[in-house]
């Protein structure tokens, strides 16, 4: 039984009267201990999906549909109080910018202790002792001293480690990481990813990794969901996706990544056009105007998401043949 079962999740923003569908019927599952990637370019609905799962979208003006089953309870239907009890205890979350996600006027230790006090009913002193262990576990040197320091006194990597410590404090069964390494430079990024991988593997915590960086996914995720304009266009196990991407969008993305092992001289592949060229999903494939493999079947009606093999799925009428090397 999956730990998290997202069924037909949709989010419609209503700004200035015109509805905008940010997430359009996304379904995926996360098994206990599994790492699932949500990949896509800016504006494809990755972050909105994660905020909708956590119930953190502003209530006013937004419509969230579908089901988010966690422990057989639909998170979307829980009362705010029940949802608050679960956040931070059953589901942890890490955000993109570690500095702005920490409260600038409170020492780090209290921020870690807060979640322990809230969910485990620990007393301040006990929570602080636990916080020290947590900071130590995420590799922050001299944790006793760091407990008393303020976020601005830490380096970017340490801040992100601290956020991970907070998110994992109550040993949640699911961790949602929303672009956790985007604000960090590459060396720190590698350290943080290694840390996440270790923690997830050691504790059996399931992970949803939201990123636009295919490299992050390649190193971390078991299953990858590729999102485009609010819909899943391809889902596959990591090796299948990187070995033989079927959707022209995934294929294009992978070809746009600079590689060390092929010719150095040529230009990088690019996907033509931009997200602005999309056609609405009901009128065909949103990616069609930018697609190299577009044909008549792409326009007219919604292209369905068809299951492939090994739990994968594909939303394309003319997929890339499997023999094509990447």
């Amino acid at each position: 039984m999956p730990l998290l079962d997202v069924r037909d999740l949709s989010v419609v923003f209503r700004r200035d009267g015109t509805p905008f569908t940010a997430v359009d019927g996304v379904s995926f599952t996360v098994e206990p201990g599994q790492a699932v990637g949500l990949v896509g370019e800016s504006g494809c609905g990755k972050s909105v999906t994660s905020l909708a799962i956590m119930g953190l979208l502003p209530r006013r003006g937004n419509k969230v549909g579908g089901e988010v089953l966690f422990d057989d309870a639909d998170l979307l239907k829980l009362r705010p109080q029940e949802l608050r009890d679960r956040r931070g205890r059953d589901i942890g979350m890490i955000f993109q910018d570690p500095l702005s996600s920490l409260n600038p006027v409170i020492p780090l230790g209290l921020q870690v202790a807060e979640v322990l006090e809230r969910h485990q009913g620990k007393r301040r002193q006990e929570a602080l002792r636990e916080a020290r262990k947590l900071l130590d576990a995420v590799g922050i040197p001299d944790p006793a001293r760091r407990l008393k320091e303020f976020p601005h006194q830490l380096s970017g990597g340490m801040r992100q480690r601290a956020l991970i410590a907070i998110a994992l404090a109550c040993k949640p069964r699911l961790l949602i990481a929303d672009e956790p390494t985007t604000a960090l430079d590459v060396t720190i990024q590698a350290q943080i990813l290694t840390l996440l991988k270790e923690l997830v593997e050691d504790s059996g915590t399931a992970l949803i990794m939201i990123t636009h960086d295919l490299g992050v996914v390649a190193g971390l995720c078991d299953t990858v969901n590729v999102l485009y304009a609010g819909k899943v266009v391809e889902r596959a196990a990591r090796h299948d996706l990187f070995g033989a991407p079927r959707h022209p969008y995934t294929h294009g993305l992978l070809q746009s990544v600079p590689r060390l092992d092929v010719d150095r001289g040529g230009r990088l592949h690019q996907i033509r056009g931009s997200v602005n060229d999309n056609i609405p999903w009901p009128e065909g494939c949103a990616f069609a105007p930018r697609c190299d493999r577009v044909n008549d079947a792409c326009v007219g009606e919604t292209v369905p998401l068809e299951p492939t093999f090994r739990g994968g799925a594909l939303r394309c009428t003319n997929p890339v043949p499997q023999e094509v090397p990447v």
Binding site: M54, L56, L83, R84, D85, R86, R87, G88, R89, G92, M93, F95, D97, S100, S101, L102, N103, P104, V105, I106, P107, E114, V115, R118, H119, R145, R146, K148, E149, F150, H152, Q153, L163, I166, A167
Partner: protein, 313 residues
């Protein structure tokens, strides 16, 4: 060569010592440290401290009782002569034959008392209203903000006069309350604005993602981050409060007790009435008010700089 190595070692020791002590400096302690290095704030704080000492130790500092009428002064008192400085009375007499210097000194007490209290009451009420508006949002926010709009629509002195007039009898407390209430909407709007900004901030979203209770999000995460502007405004309001209270006394709406030594009252009643006879009766209280107001304004300016997170290291 040896010298260079020695120098290097010293420098490293210095640096490690500095990082070691850097741990655990709170925003307010850090701001306090920067405040002490800020010449503007130092000048302001010195002025205020001076007047505070005078106010607190008035009975020790003042040469005489401020309400006692002295025969050696009253005997020379006529409609157009008020005795000037003498050996026993360095500032001379007031129009009733009381020691002017002692009245000035006791005036510090009265005036500072009014300023501190009016500001504190205004601050507390404003923080309450603004905090509720910013934390609750929705219709509560709308109601509170329209209420403050109405108060802000009237010029502050006019509003204060109206409030004093509403009270059946003018006492020192009606003045304090009037000046306090006039400043409530300013504090409320200021706090509400920064609370709204805080509500949208990433760290509040992160706290919500951790399931932190609303009450704690407001009190631990939103409020402490929003207070900076309000604290600075309080120091500036101080000066305004003293001037407003003085203005009310000047207009004859203050405390009617003729024995009360308060700078605004001294300036407004005796100072104006006997300006041609003895202009010091107006100059000294006016100068004192300006000095205290200047002190608070300078301190406020220094605090604004010190509390600015951009100046933190």
């Amino acid at each position: 060569m040896n010298k260079l190595a020695e120098h290097k070692r010293q420098r490293i020791d210095e640096l490690t010592a500095r990082t070691a002590e850097g741990g655990g400096v709170s925003l307010f302690r850090d701001a306090g440290r920067r405040l002490l290095r800020n010449p503007t704030a130092i000048v302001g704080a010195t002025i205020i401290l001076l007047f505070l000492v005078i106010a607190i130790f008035a009975p020790l500092v003042a040469p005489h009782d401020p309400v006692q009428r002295f025969p050696e002064l009253t005997k020379d008192l006529t409609v157009d002569t008020i005795p000037g400085p003498t050996a026993g009375h360095p500032f001379g007499s007031d129009p009733l034959g009381r020691d002017f210097m002692s009245r000035m000194i006791y005036g510090a007490r009265q005036t500072m008392f009014v300023g501190v209290l009016a500001t504190t009451i205004g601050l507390l009420l404003g923080v309450l209203l603004g905090g509720v508006a910013g934390a609750a949002g929705g219709w509560i926010d709308v109601v509170i903000m329209r209420f403050t709009d109405v108060m802000l629509a009237l010029p502050s002195l006019l509003l204060a006069i109206t409030l004093v007039a509403l009270a059946s009898q003018s006492t020192q407390w009606t003045v304090i309350m009037a000046v306090a209430i006039v400043n409530v909407p300013i504090f409320a709007r200021l706090l509400r604005g920064s609370m709204l900004a805080q509500r949208e901030s990433d760290h509040v979203l992160a706290a919500r993602a951790l399931g932190v209770k609303r009450r704690h999000i407001v009190t631990r995460h939103m409020l402490p981050n929003s207070l900076t502007a309000v604290i600075v405004q309080a120091t500036l309001t101080f000066a305004v409060a003293i001037l407003d209270a003085a203005a009310l006394s000047f207009l004859g709406l203050g405390d009617p007790d003729i024995n009360r030594a308060e700078w605004g009252l001294m300036l407004g009643v005796d100072g104006v009435r006997y300006f041609e006879v003895r202009p010091e009766l107006a100059y000294f209280p006016a100068l004192a008010i300006i000095l205290v107001a200047l002190g608070f304004t300078l301190l406020g300016e220094g605090m604004r700089e010190a509390l600015d997170p951009k100046n933190r290291r």
